[in-house]
């Protein structure tokens, strides 16, 4: 039987192991432990961002530059051939990274600004503000968002700005629900009550007490919402009501070269032409999903530890 010393001292109470590390050190340690899928996801994202940022330097030709031969086959001049109008597919793929991702990121940011802000406000204020917003969002969500977007686009027309605003507003309903739910979980915590008892203003409570604690689920949700918005814009463009020509965009590119798919039995490279932009969409989404999955695992893992 082990001997226990009964010299009680508050300082010596055993807490979890305490090693002071800087933020960067922590990130480094976490990254070292990241699984393969997470690395793959991060590599994909970095690669896409690189292509998007330096598109004019990488692309062999201009975004809307037209060459003589439409539907040119894959060769040295046009690595992935040309489209119906004779534009270089590879160049359009590279510029597409810029346009498609840019619009999706802007839309997601806007959705978070609207939905996140209102959601947090709802969680703290409660009462009729919360009731009104929550019911309003319920009604908006009773219409499938793609259908709603189609309807609104038919009325306002498919400009890039309309696209961003409409999808951001529709998607902000989901952000609202999440941030309201997680915000409420935190808002009922005693440390928020303690801040109220101290006499803190709503700005402090939102920004300093609640926000830092709901950041992990919100960051994960940002990844998922980005995927959703990205796929939705791609779908709308594919349907011909999204990003309009001559802007290079992956969804529209699939639409424009879609008929080539029929020739798979004769020339597989021709059939692959519409697959390329579609794969570009899919691969980015997979990458983001992998990273989000890992992030969720990390943050929920921390939660278990605290119990």
């Amino acid at each position: 039987m082990s001997k226990v010393i009964n010299q009680y001292s508050a300082k010596d109470e055993v807490a979890s192991v305490f090693v002071k590390r800087t933020f960067l050190q922590r990130i480094f340690i976490t990254l070292k432990k990241a699984p393969f899928t997470a690395w793959l996801g991060m590599t994909i994202i970095v690669f896409y961002l690189f292509v998007a940022l330096f598109a004019p330097l990488i692309a062999p030709y201009g975004e809307a530059e037209i060459f003589k031969t439409p539907y040119a086959p894959w060769d040295e001049v046009h690595i992935f051939g040309t489209d119906r109008l004779g534009r270089d597919i590879l160049s359009r793929l590279i510029y597409g990274a810029r346009n498609t991702m840019g619009i999706a990121i802007l839309t997601t940011l806007l959705a978070f600004l609207i939905g996140g802000g209102l959601g947090l406000l709802s969680a703290i204020l409660r009462g009729w503000v919360d009731q009104f917003l929550a019911r309003f969002v319920d009604v908006l969500m009773a219409i499938p968002s793609l259908i709603f977007a189609l309807m609104l686009l038919s009325i306002f027309g498919s400009t890039a700005l309309n696209l961003i605003i409409i999808i951001a507003v529709l998607d902000s309903t989901r952000v609202f629900r999440l941030s309201r739910a997680v915000g409420m979980n935190v808002a009922v915590m005693e440390y928020v009550e303690a801040a109220k008892l101290r006499g803190e203003k709503i700005g402090w409570i939102m920004g300093r007490e609640i926000l830092p604690n709901i950041l992990p689920p919100l960051v994960a949700e940002f990844g998922l919402r980005f995927c959703y918005v990205f796929l939705m814009i791609a779908s709308l463009s594919f349907l011909g009501v999204g990003i309009q020509p001559p802007t290079a965009d992956w969804g529209s590119m699939v639409r424009e070269t879609g008929e080539l798919i029929q020739y798979a039995q004769y020339d597989i490279t021709a059939a692959l032409t519409p697959i390329l932009p579609a794969a570009a969409i899919g691969i980015l989404t997979i990458g983001v999903n992998f990273v989000v999955d890992w992030f969720l695992y990390l943050t929920s893992g921390l939660k278990d530890e605290q119990k």
């Binding site: 039987m1 009680y8 001292s9 300082k11 979890s16 009550e193 008892l197 830092p212 604690n213």
Partner: protein
């Protein structure tokens, strides 16, 4: 204690080790523990949170939870080693030879089935007897467990009966197959004291009556003293001490065992003070449009003293605190603080009023922002109320840390890097930073282990002496009340039953409820439960 024990060994655990998986590594939970249990014997397993007592209890059945594994030792039941058996072989024993009674009956009953079906389910599926016979026996067991309407209660669903009744039904369920060994895993921890007594009595009787062996797991030494023939003390997965109940209580060998009843050793002399700092007058309060949770509550708080508000769950003691702090404006009545009327609503109070009344919560885990460091947590009130900044700020935070017996090495830690007792000390420092006149302590020690409780209570008493702060101490624990209070308020169902000096409240004559409450608190005396029973009959 029990006379009809034959001395043969029923179950023997030898050098059992169990590991749990967390944070991508295996960590030891049980580190080579020996445990023996004889036929008809009740063994008490006692220890604080993290001692591994539940894990050990389940291991006695050969069961480990998901994410845990046996890494050594054996569990011998007769000539079989449970650690070497496969799932199917163990299933033959579970529900026949072994039964389990869980801590939370409300969660352990399946909401979709009637009680009677769940009671006899194990026996039916193992083919112990015919369903009709088992049902009749179950009704008899319900009767023995003193459940109301034993013939009908089985037809109900779990959510239709009270927590105490559900816990007794679960004991009947465990008895249904007439097992050799029952594991009771903190069966009364979730219950109020007045409910606990009855459940303890029925459990003890039925176990004796049927001569069943049991492992009784709890953190409460007074409870285990009533139930067990022998006690084994666990800490961090190791056995600290093991002996017969009487011997253990009279002459514990290890310091750690002695520390288990640390709080009960604090004695504070009561002080009387005529001057009142706070008067609550005729308060009625309710949540939303719900029923009244406080009815005509009046409480006087003497300056520089400690008033303990004691009561069970639903008595309105925490609601009283919410009314005083302004979180819940009352329907009627007024609050006089330092001779002036306090506005009922928090948002209408001045910063100065808010500063003077501070609050410390039950759970330090939820009352400190996990993303703020100790510096932010203690420092914010300094900045907010006293406008202290820069170097003075850091110095004052360190002063406060010293005041609570910690030092400047803690200043950059996050709450997750502190132990339970340290966290609660930081919460106290946060309250002190405001330089308040009154601190409301809402169950501040009930989430902590005994030895840590003692430390916190001593700290609070010392601070009171040095800074002459007034405390309102809300608790359900009578030992804590005795340790710390000058005056006591007993509450029940939203009413004040009585208020007076500590010595008055704890000496007869008592109003009925106080009598019931005081008599329900288990005492270290192993014959306490027997005495209670005989005094009732």
């Amino acid at each position: 204690m029990s006379k009809n024990r034959d001395n043969s060994i029923l179950l023997e655990m030898k050098n059992i080790s169990i590991e749990g998986y967390s944070d991508e590594a295996w960590h030891p939970i049980i580190k080579g523990v020996d445990l023996q249990i004889h036929r008809g014997e009740v063994l008490g397993l006692i220890g604080e949170s993290g001692a591994g007592k539940s894990t050990l209890g389940l291991a006695a059945m050969g069961f480990v939870r998901a994410g845990c594994r046996f890494t050594g030792g054996s569990v011998l039941f007769g000539d079989q080693d449970l650690t070497k058996m496969n799932e199917n072989e163990k299933r033959e024993l579970w529900g026949t030879k072994f039964s389990y009674v869980a801590q939370s009956a409300a969660a352990a009953f399946n909401p979709a089935h009637r009680l009677i079906n769940q009671t006899i389910e194990a026996s039916v599926s193992h083919g112990i007897s015919k369903t009709e016979t088992l049902e009749k026996e179950a009704i008899k067991l319900y009767e023995e467990m003193q459940l109301p309407n034993p013939t009908e209660i089985g037809g109900r669903y779990p959510h239709q009966v009270s927590g105490g009744q559900l816990q007794r039904t679960m004991t009947a369920m465990a008895m249904s197959s007439k097992p050799d060994l029952i594991i009771f895993d903190e069966p009364t921890t979730a219950l109020d004291v007045t409910t606990q007594v009855n459940v303890l009595v029925t459990i003890r009787n039925i176990v004796k009556e049927h001569n069943t062996a049991a492992i009784y797991i709890t953190h409460d030494l007074a409870v285990v003293a009533q139930m067990a023939d022998r006690i084994q003390v666990l800490r961090y997965g190791d056995t600290i001490e093991e002996s017969e109940t009487n011997k253990m209580l009279k002459s514990p060998k290890e310091d750690y065992t002695k520390s288990l009843w640390a709080v009960r050793s604090i004695k504070k002399k009561e002080n009387k003070n005529k001057e009142k700092i706070l008067s609550i007058k005729n308060i009625d309060a309710s949540y939303g449009s719900g029923p009244k949770v406080l009815q005509n509550v009046s409480i006087e708080v003497p300056k520089g003293g400690t008033v303990a508000i004691v009561g069970e769950s639903g008595s309105g003691k925490s609601t009283t605190a919410r009314v005083v702090t302004g979180l819940l404006p009352p329907d009627k009545g007024e609050i006089i603080f330092q001779g002036q009327k306090l506005t009922p609503n928090l948002s209408d109070r001045s910063k100065e009023d808010l500063r003077k009344i501070q609050m410390v919560y039950q759970s330090p885990d939820t009352s400190m922002n996990p993303r703020h460091t100790v510096r932010d947590i203690i420092g914010r009130p300094l900045e907010f109320y006293h406008n202290i900044k820069g170097k003075a700020y850091t110095n004052r935070v360190i002063d406060l840390l010293k005041m609570i017996e910690l030092d400047e090495t803690f200043i950059d830690r996050l709450p997750s890097e502190l132990s339970g007792g340290q966290k609660q000390r930081i919460c106290i420092a946060r309250a002190l930073a405001a330089e308040p006149d009154l601190i409301i302590c809402d169950e501040v020690t009930s989430a902590l282990d005994q030895i840590v409780q003692e430390g916190i209570l001593k700290l609070l008493l010392r601070l009171q002496k040095e800074l002459s702060i007034t405390y309102i101490f809300i608790t359900h624990d009578i030992a804590t009340v005795k340790a710390i209070s000058d005056e006591v308020v007993v509450m029940h169902n939203g009413l004040v039953v009585e208020q007076g000096m500590k010595s008055e409240i704890f000496s007869p004559p008592h109003p009925d409820y106080t009598k019931l409450l005081l008599s329900s608190v288990p005492e270290m005396d192993p014959n306490w439960l027997t005495k209670i029973l005989s005094s009732k009959n």
